[in-house]
């Protein structure tokens, strides 16, 4: 019995380590290769050296030479800045608009409240892929093509975020709000001075979900930010693939740059992100 247990344990850990290798190796390979020069990337690929960082004396120009070259080759800084403006714009306006809507649906009684909630939940079914053409025509008519407005405004309202906020505010104790009302605080005052400061977890969760979705966005920035100066990082990455000669070291560096913000966010705010995820599953 004891021996059987031990064998089971060994099998478990061996399969876990094997799986870890399968899931991590492209990521590790990307990070490691971004430090190597072209010749070395291809030379190392036949062995486990492909997953080991190069020795300092092996790389000409220092570890960061691919990163420096990537920044010199295209305006990566501009792409990163565009991505940051795009995502933070959606996050800031999205948090305000969606939390207000979620609060209205959780707290106030007004005609058609149930109807609007139904409509909002129903819009979750509409695939964004099926409306990007007419949306592009609309944004074009508004004169918003190649502007931050065109990138941001269509995605401020988010049914899923409204739903998350509503669920959170439903469980929020009413007593505090009533006390504030007796003290003569207005409804808007109550929301921004009492509810918002006490609801940091849900705001953090929604902010992270929005960040991850929109940092990784591809289709909408591709169609609406056609001008080189408006490209986001995800669109800019393609440049390294489409314009020969392909320098793989630089490609790897650019891919790493696009991934690092997500890795950092995830590393520091894992708890909130997982909260958002589990809400996705269990609330339905």
């Amino acid at each position: 019995m004891k021996r059987k247990k031990r064998i089971q344990g060994v099998v478990l850990y061996v399969s876990l380590i094997l799986l870890t290798f399968i899931f991590l190796f492209p990521l590790v390979w990307m990070l490691v290769s971004s430090l190597k020069d072209e010749f070395q990337i291809f030379k190392d690929m036949k062995s486990l050296k492909a997953f080991l960082p190069p020795a300092p004396n092996e790389v000409e120009g220092g570890y960061l030479h691919n990163y420096i070259a990537a920044f010199q080759r295209v305006d990566l800084m501009k792409y990163i800045l565009n991505s940051l403006i795009y995502t933070t714009g959606i996050i800031i306006f999205g948090l305000i608009v969606n939390s207000m809507a979620g609060y209205a649906l959780a707290r106030f009684r007004f005609p058609l409240a149930g109807f609007w909630l139904g409509v909002i939940i129903a819009t979750l079914i509409i695939p964004p892929e099926s409306i990007f053409l007419p949306l592009y025509v609309l944004v074009y008519d508004l004169g918003w093509v190649n502007t931050y407005t065109g990138l941001i405004v269509p995605f401020i309202a988010n049914a899923f975020a409204i739903f998350l906020f509503r669920q959170f505010f439903l469980d929020f104790p009413k007593e505090l709000e009533e006390a504030a009302k007796i003290d003569g605080c207005s409804q808007i005052g109550i929301f921004f001075r009492i509810i918002v400061p006490l609801s940091k977890p849900v705001f953090a969760t929604v902010a992270i979900v929005l960040f991850i979705n929109h940092w990784n966005d591809f289709l909408w920035p591709l169609v609406v930010a056609s001008d080189e100066s408006m490209r986001t990082i995800q669109i800019g990455l393609q440049y390294f693939m489409n314009e020969p000669p392909i320098k793989w070291g630089q490609v790897m560096a650019a891919l790493t740059i696009a991934t690092v913000p997500m890795l950092l966010i995830f590393a520091f705010l894992q708890r909130y992100y997982v909260q958002g995820l589990t809400h996705t599953g269990s609330k339905n």
């Binding site: 390979w29 149930g114 939940i121 892929e129 053409l133 289709l219 589990t278 269990s282």
Partner: protein, 327 residues
């Protein structure tokens, strides 16, 4: 859906409360009644004040485009001549069935979905079960399996294009070490879609694993203890405790993966441009090309309408299945 019906009920209760025929209201002196009415009005105003921005934005940038897509689908709208739209009835729709490219894209998408959905579900469940045991370095393993999710589809697609490269790609180089000849992963019509499938499962499984993990933690421990007392084997415990406990979550994940699979776009667009020989062209990719490269918005919209109908049908069928399972 549950929240929807409950708040609708709240609303009717409230309406009854206001109705003059209600006996409880009659007892209220007229002066107070008036005050209540204005309070209800004020509450409604505040409610709409808070809700309006989101409603307007959703209306303008989601519902209106949906309606516009439907309208365009009956026209010959062409981006280069936007002022010259004429109504052409079902012409676009009847063309869809003659469009060999559409048929190919449709079956490619179906093939992708039919393989990806069960495989990814199984992989995600397997990972969740492995990690849910009392093991050391649990957080490490969880983070490792989740890490591909953190990378964007664009990053992952570019990375795997290099890994799949026929001659110098990482996978073929490693296969060469154990004596397997180089495979044309993305350049052969027989293998390209399967290669995209493998990559997609690798990228997405960690996400569903997290949701499964939450579900596993919600299964009460005493059920396992009871099974232990009855002398159940671990396979029996899995079959009679774990699986029934995960049923709802599994169905929910099933729906989300199916819908996501049907929206396949980024991987073929970046990795193969739909080739070789159209073997990886997906439905959304075909819509994108028709709309943006050939600027035929009318026909692209017709295909988008059909696409929406398919996604809706998948959702509805699966919702009905869930309801029957629950009932």
């Amino acid at each position: 859906m549950k929240g929807n019906s409950s708040s609708a009920k709240q609303l009717t209760d409230h309406d009854h409360y206001k109705a003059p025929s209600e006996p409880s209201i009659r007892k209220v002196p007229p002066k107070r009644k008036k005050r209540r009415k204005s309070q209800a009005f004020q509450e409604a105003m505040t409610g709409y004040f808070f809700l309006a921005p989101a409603l307007i934005l959703l209306g303008v940038f989601l519902l209106y485009p949906m309606g516009a897509a439907f309208y365009y689908s009956f026209t010959d709208f062409y981006i280069l001549k936007p002022d010259d739209i004429s109504f052409i009835g079902f012409e676009n729709f009847s063309y869809i069935w003659q469009d060999a490219q559409f048929r190919q894209a449709f079956w490619n998408t179906v093939y992708f979905s039919v393989i990806v959905v069960p495989v990814q579900l199984a992989v995600a469940l397997g990972l969740a079960l492995l990690i849910n045991k009392k093991i050391k370095f649990r957080v490490f393993f969880r983070t490792a399996f989740f890490s591909p999710v953190v990378m964007s589809l664009v990053v992952v697609s570019i990375l795997w294009t290099f890994m799949y490269n026929p001659n110098e790609g990482l996978i073929n180089q490693l296969l060469g070490v154990i004596g397997i000849s180089p495979q044309p992963f993305l350049t052969s019509p027989d293998q390209a879609m399967n290669s995209i499938i493998v990559m997609s499962v690798w990228q997405g499984a960690g996400f569903q694993m997290m949701i499964f993990l939450a579900g596993l933690q919600n299964i009460p421990n005493h059920l396992y203890e009871a099974a232990d007392i009855d002398g159940a084997t671990s396979w029996q415990k899995f079959l009679h405790v774990t699986l029934p406990g995960l049923k709802n979550i599994a169905l929910f994940i099933f729906i989300t993966i199916s819908i996501a699979a049907f929206k396949l776009l980024v991987q073929p667009m970046i990795m193969t441009q739909g080739g070789p020989l159209g073997s990886t062209k997906s439905l959304v990719y075909h819509i994108y090309e028709t709309g943006f490269n050939y600027r035929d918005v009318g026909y692209a919209s017709a295909m988008a309408v059909v696409f929406t109908m398919i996604v809706l049908t998948i959702t509805i069928i699966q919702r009905v299945l869930i309801r029957e399972e629950r009932g």
